[in-house]
């Protein structure tokens, strides 16, 4: 357990901050919970996808005649069955996506842009028939030269993926197309003056490999397209409304004709913030007239769904002898995969977000490559740039013989400081997280031979945005909380807790559900660490409306003014001295009389939540390196984070521990490996090595609570910040264990043994 700062005894809160059992828990420990692939319909067909075996190829022709002849094959679709969309930026709530690119990523048109790119899809009565049909679809390719390495893709003689792509963000519009989709710069102050004022200047070049979100549940959906055009989709995603919008756009349908029901989701981490299967399943269902189920294999998940960028980065830092950072020059080159849209923008904005630096220049390049289009992955872009910057800061600390935490404290952003990305910080808990690790026994614990201790920090914005929540009071005084946000990590229980807190009900009396797109108002998807903040705000406001309504009804019953009614401990209390005999009216009592006091007691609130509070994390990692085998063992890990206010501390800890584990995998063993032809060589959990239980120690979370005044209970987002520091925390620990700086992730045994031999 973490040493969560327990509620002060005088805290008025009864539910928020406790650790109740999640209401969906029993279904999940008994196998009853219905995930994407667990849903079935009578007469359902099996849908499968034909994928490009080439990293880059012109599709000359697709012949489906023989495949259609296979007994049991009911439908075959190719790009010809989808509208050829115009390039259109659509702001789908999250970061903007280009609808044409989205549609082309679901189904290749004219060109296959990566190994595994969908070129056709089949629906048949059996999986065997579908497989046979896939074999018989004849696709003629003209194989083109491919490029995957980000710097090779940037060179002028690289194969160009998109003839229409001209670099954005240059002074003058370029004459020729390029794989560089965008150049973005963030700058402040006078870089030259900053370096001139420096006593030491450190330069470094850092690289990271593309890594996958690695959710254990493969993408899955069932889609039914009725003759009247009414569509039903059941799918596992981070947002049923996102699925509805994207399906409508990709297929040219009316959103009102698509009803999307969210399945339980088996992990997403950002990777399920877009669609791959749903539009194809709908198209197959439209053509066949039967419901179609599609479930990806693990190999398909790796080859064809979003990893995050591999990157090359350069960092130059200048500092005075006493450790004041005077200048920072950061260059970030991120792989976007087959279509523009790497998280280099967020990578740039977060790169220096923990530091108060007068003079800096950050240049970011968004570069398309012949690999799967990247998708969001937990604090998109931030862990990558943090690996470079936090490694450089550690080198600076070594050079200056300064304690790495002290160096960070000396340059720390605080309230009132202008963030590198613009706004001025308010109510941030960064210094508090630094103090939390500095004062933790871990930081003073002895270190053995071949062992090292690394420190790194991280930042994530956290976002707000559109959310809807409804609260319904049942006739017996219990309540239902309805939201439109899939529950990936236990957010449902937090929603119920916030409603219970406001209504004065025990948590057991509040049932939270995640509704389909026809049963609740629009909500942006679950991502950006927004759900507990933004949807929680909507839930709280809806519950407060219920309380106001209940007070009105009680006032009516007592014939007093509403102001003379107080809501306390789940009951209305009459404050009017003239009504001293008025007994409190419990929620149950008022619910029982609802018919006579104005009808059903319900409230729905929709809002665009503003004022999300940023998250800061500070981590300590101890490693031991086997100098002969190059194997790194994580000995101990402590992670402090400002979460504003922990609504359900156990799930806050879980988010921190899970983020750390993913970051450790990223640092040590995870990477996309491509062969000479650009085909992924390790598209499975055997050779794409996510951490297993025996790879990790207990991960100790420290919950720091600097309340966010814009949230009713002070909550800030939690889920993303914890994956930002670990890449560098591990690398910094390895540096101190072996005395050599490793700048190229992952830190796999062969690389470590090689540098040890070279030292």
């Amino acid at each position: 357990m973490s040493d969560v700062l327990e509620r002060p005894a005088d805290s008025p809160l009864k539910v928020v901050g406790t650790r109740p059992i999640r209401p969906d828990g029993v279904d999940k420990v008994t196998g009853a919970a219905t995930f994407g692939a667990d849903f079935s319909m009578p007469g359902m067909l099996v849908g499968k996808i034909k994928r490009s075996p080439h990293a880059h190829a012109r599709i000359v022709s697709i012949e489906t005649k023989r495949a259609r002849a296979v007994a049991g094959v009911k439908a075959i679709v190719t790009a010809a069955d989808f509208p050829d969309l115009a390039s259109e930026e659509y702001e789908g709530g999250e970061s903007a996506s280009n609808l044409r690119d989205l549609s082309l990523n679901c189904m290749a048109r004219g060109k296959a842009l990566y190994d595994g790119h969908a070129v056709a899809a089949v629906a048949a009565t059996t999986a065997a028939a579908a497989d046979e049909a896939l074999e018989l679809i004849e696709v003629t390719y003209e194989v083109l030269p491919h490029v995957i390495d980000v710097e090779e893709a940037m060179s002028h003689d690289a194969p160009v993926l998109h003839a229409h792509l001209f670099t954005e963000g240059l002074e003058t519009r370029p004459e020729t197309p390029s794989n560089i989709a965008q150049k973005n710069e963030l700058a402040r102050g006078d870089l030259a003056a900053g370096f001139a004022a420096a006593d030491v200047v450190m330069e470094g070049r850092y690289t990271t490999a593309a890594v996958h979100q690695g959710y254990i549940e493969p993408h899955a959906c069932v889609a039914a397209f009725a003759p009247d055009g009414q569509c039903q989709v059941w799918s596992s995603s981070q947002g049923q409304f996102m699925v509805r919008t994207y399906c409508a756009k990709v297929l040219g349908l009316e959103a009102s004709n698509i009803r999307v029901t969210p399945a339980e989701i088996g992990g997403g981490f950002g990777g399920k913030t877009t669609v791959y299967l749903e539009p194809l399943a709908l198209a197959l269902s439209r053509q066949s007239g039967a419901p179609v189920k599609m479930v990806m294999s693990r190999e398909e998940v790796f080859r064809a769904t979003g990893p995050t960028s591999g990157a090359v980065m350069e960092v130059t830092l200048g500092a005075t002898a006493d450790g004041r950072i005077t200048a920072a020059d950061v260059v970030l080159k991120y792989q976007a995969g087959a279509f523009p849209g790497s998280p280099v923008g967020a990578g740039s904005m977060t790169a220096l977000a923990c530091y108060d630096i007068e003079n800096f220049h950050i240049t970011g390049y968004d570069v398309v490559t012949n690999s799967p289009k990247v998708a969001a992955y937990r604090a998109p872009g931030a862990p990558i740039s943090a690996f470079a910057v936090e490694s450089a800061i550690d080198e600076l600390a070594l050079k200056l013989c300064m304690d790495p935490i002290a160096l960070r404290e000396k340059n720390a952003v605080r309230d009132g400081v202008k963030a590198a990305y613009g706004p001025t910080y308010r109510n941030i808990g960064y210094v508090e997280t630094l103090e939390a690790i500095r004062d933790h026994p871990h930081y003073r614990a002895p270190i053995g031979p071949n062992q090292g201790r690394g420190v790194a920090v991280g930042f994530w914005f956290n976002i707000g945005g559109e959310s809807t929540a409804a609260v319904h009071v049942n006739e017996d005084g219990s309540a239902v909380v309805v939201t439109g946000n899939p529950d990936i990590g236990g957010s449902r229980v937090s929603m119920a807790m916030m409603a219970a807190e406001v209504l004065g009900l025990p948590i057991e009396k509040v049932r939270p559900i995640v509704a389909d797109t026809a049963s609740i108002g629009f909500s942006m998807l679950t991502g950006g660490s927004r759900t507990t903040f933004a949807t929680g705000m909507a839930v709280t406001q809806a519950a407060r409306k219920i309380v106001a309504d209940l007070k009105q009804r009680a006032a009516g019953i007592w014939s007093v003014a509403a102001e003379a009614v107080e809501w306390k401990d789940g009951a209305a209390h009459c404050l009017d001295p003239a009504k001293a005999d008025a007994q409190p009216l419990s929620l149950a009592a008022l619910a029982a009389r609802s018919a006579r006091t104005g009808g059903p007691i319900t409230a729905e609130v929709s809002l665009t939540a503003q004022g999300a509070g940023p998250g800061f994390a500070a981590h300590i990692c101890d490693v031991e390196v086997d100098p002969e085998t190059g194997h790194v063992t994580i000995l101990r890990y402590t992670a402090a984070q400002d979460v504003g206010r922990a609504i359900h501390p156990a799930y806050v800890e879980g988010q921190i521990q899970g983020g750390v584990a993913q970051g450790i995998g990223w640092a040590l063993n995870e990477e996309y490996v491509f062969d000479r032809l650009g085909r992924m060589e390790n598209a499975g959990f055997l050779d794409y090595r996510v951490p297993v239980a025996s790879d990790l120690p207990m991960i100790e979370p420290i919950i720091v609570e600097v309340a966010n005044p814009r949230h009713p209970f002070g909550a800030k987002g939690v889920g993303e910040a914890p994956i930002v520091p670990p890449l560098a925390a591990v690398a910094n620990a390895v540096r101190r264990a072996i005395g050599v700086r490793m700048t190229d992730l992952p830190l796999s045994p062969p690389k470590i043994r090689a540098v040890i031999d070279a030292r």
Binding site: A96, G169, R188, G422, N462
Partner: protein
């Protein structure tokens, strides 16, 4: 007059390189309209692609948000997340 600061080259490409612009506006919606009229395409770019920080607080899709005469408005790329 509220001061609009466009950091990032993508935004500055619309303003002819200008990083700071004084804008006569009392709401975000007005500010966007003014930017669009002064720098064609910029208002649209801000609406679609940019997040807005008013005196340090990040707003997204906040047309109605109030700007006071001394407000400092930062424009920067929209943030998504995992």
């Amino acid at each position: 007059m509220p001061r609009v600061v466009a950091i990032g080259s993508a935004a500055r490409a619309f303003t002819g390189g200008a990083g700071e612009i004084e804008v006569e506006a009392s709401t975000v919606a007005q500010m966007i309209a003014v930017l669009e009229s002064r720098f064609p395409g910029f208002g649209d770019h801000v609406e679609r692609r940019m997040a807005i920080a008013i005196d340090g607080e990040i707003h997204q899709d906040a047309d109605g948000a109030i700007l006071n005469p001394h407000s400092e408005v930062y424009l920067f790329p929209r943030i998504g997340g995992g």
